[in-house]
Symmetry: C2
Subunit: 343 residues, 2 copies
């Protein structure tokens, strides 16, 4: 029996290309004592993976050249020497860009298929959803009556921020790429307004559109993108506003936000408006996993919190799907169907 | 009887010059009902005043052209129709760059001359000292065993941050301009190390010196300056570090920190190190005035917290002293002696 995996072939300079990845064949490993083997059903593709392709200092180790690309997966246990896992169990964990993986159970969690489709364990009920929950509640401390700007509002994280903020009683201005995504953000997710960043030239125009959408300014900004969206937000932040820095997808592939040095502008804005800007990563806040699932699980099951997925078929197509994700071509959570649903 | 005041003659472009100020004569006003007249003894000069000379949006209204330059003062009441103030009382407030002022008592506080020299109500026991206290305790949440970097460490705010951090049990690395100031920061204020920013070309060299001084990195950074000091701090921040943004004196007169756009670097550092950066202004934290005076007053009286003043004589010399402050020529708290001590 053979398995497939996608290895990092080389490190990208700026935008990654298909050449940075390599499909490899191998044998399915045997589990060994205390371990289990699982076959991948769903692979999650996420912007943070771009960072793992570089070897500069970051909050996580880079993928080694020749190593399997990292990623979250939903899998079915097929062979087990682990007392807690038996064949047929559905598990969510980090088995990477591969058709099969071995685990000792560390970092794995069983998925209850009765709550929602198992793919949601990688999206609205998984790391992206929990990221939204942590950012909105712990980092931004968003409150009823406040106004929030959510960048990448149709994305896997932003869509959950948007909906949870509305449920909280906040006014939400989303930013997304394209008229169809913006329509989705307003009509399906319930945002009060959505700005199409493709219709906006620069930070100045973005600031004007934001001022129209939220004349009173923003108490909170959920940062996924940087670039002109960030430049538009700064003049629209209210005194004592909070910024949760979750990602900066527009910078991941070499975009420098223009030649002008905008650090003084940013720094001065933080001072004179007495803002708080804070970076965060969901893995530092795993204590919120249980309250997150307890609160958001029923909202997903009842349909009050919606989700949307873009599915690419076949592990061999993961690199192309990932490049599309970086270009904003996905709509909602980007997944790769690696194997069939459990029978 | 005549009085003098310094008016804002014109708005500076970049560095201010003596031409931006004008000395004017006038009559000493009479107090009117419920008010008092006081004569200025000490005028405080502070970097924030540079911002008030511009008419861009900021956290405070700009000084109008022809208006009296704003500033904190220690004064003696000379005539009073106010029930709480009598001639001879020493008060601290904001009477501006003038020999005399009128007040209804709003924003005024009586000074107890038995604790320390009355000039300290503008420095170590006034707004700069309280700024240090708020930044260190409320914004940075500095703790025993942590390491802090303090910029402008010999200045009116930085010197208090340095000493209070040492009393708390923190390791302190100061940054100051010149060997004499650095010697003062280490030998008098008790910092563990001090880096002379004049001996450092750029952010990269600054980062190297900081890494030598604090090989484990910084938990906290007290920001007074921006510029190469900030660029040196970023790679030395520890994960989950905190930055209190109190000022950015190197930017106040048009320094742009170079042509390269450093916003992406800053933003990425906040994300990957999960830092918190927060701007603050002491006037939003007046609830800490009482605990500040209760805690730091005795430390000043006993000599455990030291202070240093640069005194310029005569209101007419205030503009030149202010320009020197912006160039870093003062050593400790910059004061102008406007009138004689009370008899």
């Amino acid at each position: 029996m053979s398995m497939q995996r996608i290895a990092l072939a080389s490190r990208p300079k700026g935008w990654p290309t298909a050449d940075n990845f390599r499909l490899e064949q191998g044998e399915i490993p045997s589990p060994g004592p205390g371990r289990f083997v699982a076959r991948t059903i769903w692979l999650s593709l996420d912007p943070y993976m771009r960072g793992r392709m570089d070897d500069g200092p970051s909050y996580a180790k880079p993928v080694e050249i020749g190593g399997t690309m990292e990623g979250g997966t939903v899998s079915e246990v097929v062979e087990s020497n682990h007392p807690d896992y038996k064949p047929g169990d559905i598990v969510v964990g980090r088995m990477g860009w591969a058709t099969h993986g071995v685990s000792d159970g560390e970092g794995m969690r069983k998925v209850d298929p009765s709550i929602a489709p198992i793919s949601t364990a990688l999206g609205v009920l998984g790391m992206p959803g929990q990221t939204a929950y942590v950012g909105l509640n712990r980092i931004l401390e968003g409150k009823s009556g406040e106004t929030i700007c959510v960048s990448a509002a149709s994305g896997a994280v932003g869509a959950v921020v948007t909906q949870l903020a509305k449920i909280k009683g906040m006014t939400v201005v989303g930013v997304a790429g394209g008229a169809d995504k913006c329509a989705y953000v307003v009509e399906e997710l319930g945002a009060d307004a959505c700005i199409d960043h493709r219709s906006v030239e620069d930070g100045k125009q973005m600031a004007e559109k934001m001022a129209q959408a939220a004349p009173g300014g923003f108490d909170c900004y959920f940062e996924n993108v940087a670039g002109k969206t960030l430049l538009g937000v700064l003049p629209n932040m209210k005194p004592f506003g909070r910024i949760a820095i979750c990602g900066m997808i527009s910078l991941y592939s070499g975009n420098t936000m223009g030649d002008q040095n905008q650090l003084p502008l940013l720094w001065r804005t933080l001072l004179v408006k007495k803002l708080r800007a804070q970076g965060f990563i969901v893995s530092d806040h795993m204590d919120l996993m249980k309250p997150f699932l307890a609160e958001v699980g029923p909202l997903v099951k009842s349909g009050r919190v919606k989700f949307r997925e873009t599915v690419t078929d076949g592990l061999e197509n993961a690199p192309e799907a990932f490049l599309g994700l970086l270009r904003g071509e996905n709509f909602g959570k980007q997944l790769v169907r690696v194997g069939a649903d459990p029978s």
